[in-house]
Symmetry: C2
Subunit: 334 residues, 2 copies
DNA sequence: CTGAAAGCGCTTACAG
DNA sequence: CTGAAAGCGCTTACAG
């Protein structure tokens, strides 16, 4: 079968332990011995069996990443960054698609999936904080994505409220006064939707512009839903001179619908989004949006999770670092 | 530490082997015994340690997937489908991003990555067939993506030539006669680019339309490159009434550039692509393109790979199934 | 139908 | 600096 450490030890005329020492870069090995082992490894084409290492050491060097679906660009781009960040630190990432279903999220939190990984990055969509805490085992867990907020859980935050306020302020400074919001209910307080809506309201208030609930349109955070919501808004006769999609998919859907209806963007109606997915740069017109700091989110969440995995003291305080956002001003709302 | 099979055996008053039998659904167990074991599992919260199972059985039940980068929508969407197909058959997928670099592809083919997986799905971009055959170990390998074609390797094909001909014929039937091609060199014969170019030429020939090398613009298969190529084409003064992007990214880049320059699509210039990524449906105007059968590619490649993993006979013939394509006619080229 | 034993290929104390 | 032994938690022949 495969070449094992035993074969290498025999070929190099040393013990198993010495081979292990060489492989794991143990410092105090006589250079000549080390060279002999390295030569033997080369000659035999030996490769470490990672499964065996995992079983013995109790570490898999894999992180789990639970998200809804990789076919959603924001998640795919985040996953890509997370994989790179993990790789740079000697970890691999095993992705699990929840399909936005509570059952799958639950399974990912407690099932065998966890025995394959040292810790979990989790973008919850269906479960709430209580359910997550109940289902989570003892292995480290870091949340992403903001649908869940809880002081008991490690998570990487984005500045939802501040960023949404910045987008709104930018639209107001461009002379817009009737800014429609796609993707929230009038009363929302929590979650990304609630926080972004709060930012929107705060910016309006700061500018002395009245808040009109008729401009707030609830819908799923998908492109087709954004197009539909825009259509309903246009048909309803409510007047508006700007659309703020609470994510880019919504904003791109709005853009599409407005262009289909022959409305000029940004002349008649400005459009802005939230996320800065790659596509926003290439839309026609290109989309003004907020970059929530994807690379930074990836870096910090991986860093925090690995810190939890590798630290001895179990009594660490909960950490909730915030990534820095940036406004990206493009053609749809110059 | 964790609950082991031993703990379960003790609690249920049976041997290790019996617990193993229950877990692995061995048929002939007395129902009462089985129930006792299941109760013990439940009570203790036992979960199989997959690492230990892998080490002993020599099977990881994981498939490797090597692709350039998940942030590229086509790959992300394909990865999503592949993960679902694998999941349905009891396998997980471990994704490795090559970043389109030969060194990384090489590492994925032979490195420790392989000891974590039972087989590999590989979308080669940098390595050629010889290099792949030289680097590949003994574990099963199935290729995707068409940059490499070789009779010695299992792969799932798409009908590049036929599909490109169908797109071209559709443009010709719409009255277009000067169809620019983005993403190939005039002389290309092999790879997706060569095959698609061949399909284009075949369709022209069938319609009795002359082939003009000035209409063939080489560039990377990225959106910005498609926009640049379109800009160069417009600036060069070469006349054209349609653009065929050899993938959707190129076509979407062309669409963007044409709209920026104030050219009407499809009235003045029709645009078509290849891939049917989700975004093409939502572009403005929506993009006419070819769906190469992504779900089918995912299904068949996973199926073929698992067949290789699980079959005993090593002397199987090379298989190269072809996925069926479909033309998606939308606004950009009705 | 069920048990007792061996062993997958490593790492980890324990010695020296 | 290096060795000999134990053991991570399973599955797999081998018995009965």
């Amino acid at each position: 079968m495969a070449v094992t450490m035993n074969d290498v030890a025999r070929a190099a005329g040393v013990s198993l332990k010495t081979v292990s020492n060489v492989i794991n870069n143990y410092e105090f090995i006589r250079p000549a011995t080390k060279q002999r082992v390295l030569d033997a490894i080369d000659e035999l084409g030996y490769e470490t069996n990672l499964t065996a290492r995992s079983l013995r050491s109790g570490k898999t060097s894999m992180l789990g990443l639970v998200l809804a679906d990789l076919s959603i660009p924001y998640y795919a781009e985040l996953a890509s960054d997370i994989m790179k960040a993990a790789w740079a630190r000697g970890y691999r990432v095993l992705v699990e698609q929840s399909g936005n279903e509570a059952e799958h999220e639950q399974a990912a939190l407690q099932g065998q999936f966890r025995s394959l990984t040292d810790g979990l990055l989790f973008i919850p969509l269906a479960l709430d904080a209580e359910q997550i805490i109940a289902a989570a085992g003892k292995k480290p867990l870091v949340l992403l994505g903001e649908f869940v907020q809880d002081p008991r859980l490690d998570m990487v935050l984005i500045q939802n409220q501040e960023a949404a306020a910045a987008v709104t302020t930018h639209l107001l400074e461009g002379g817009r006064r009737r800014i429609a919001v796609l993707g929230a209910h009038d009363g929302d307080e929590a979650g990304s939707n609630g926080l972004r809506l709060r930012g929107y309201r705060a910016a309006l208030a700061a500018a002395g512009v009245a808040y009109d609930p008729a401009l707030v349109v609830p819908c799923d955070w998908r492109r087709d839903a954004g197009a539909d919501a825009t259509a309903r808004l246009l048909d309803s006769g409510v007047e508006f001179d700007a659309v703020f999609g609470l994510n880019d998919a919504l904003a791109l859907g709005a853009l599409h619908e407005l262009l289909v209806r022959g409305r000029k963007v940004p002349e008649e109606i400005a459009v802005a989004g939230f996320d800065d997915i790659d596509e926003s740069r290439f839309a026609s017109p290109s989309l003004t949006t907020v970059a929530p700091g994807r690379a930074e989110i990836a870096e910090r969440s991986v860093e925090l999770l690995i810190q939890r995995i590798e630290s001895k003291d179990a009594v660490a305080n909960v950490e909730q670092p915030e990534a820095v956002f940036e406004l990206r001003i493009r053609q749809s709302a110059p």
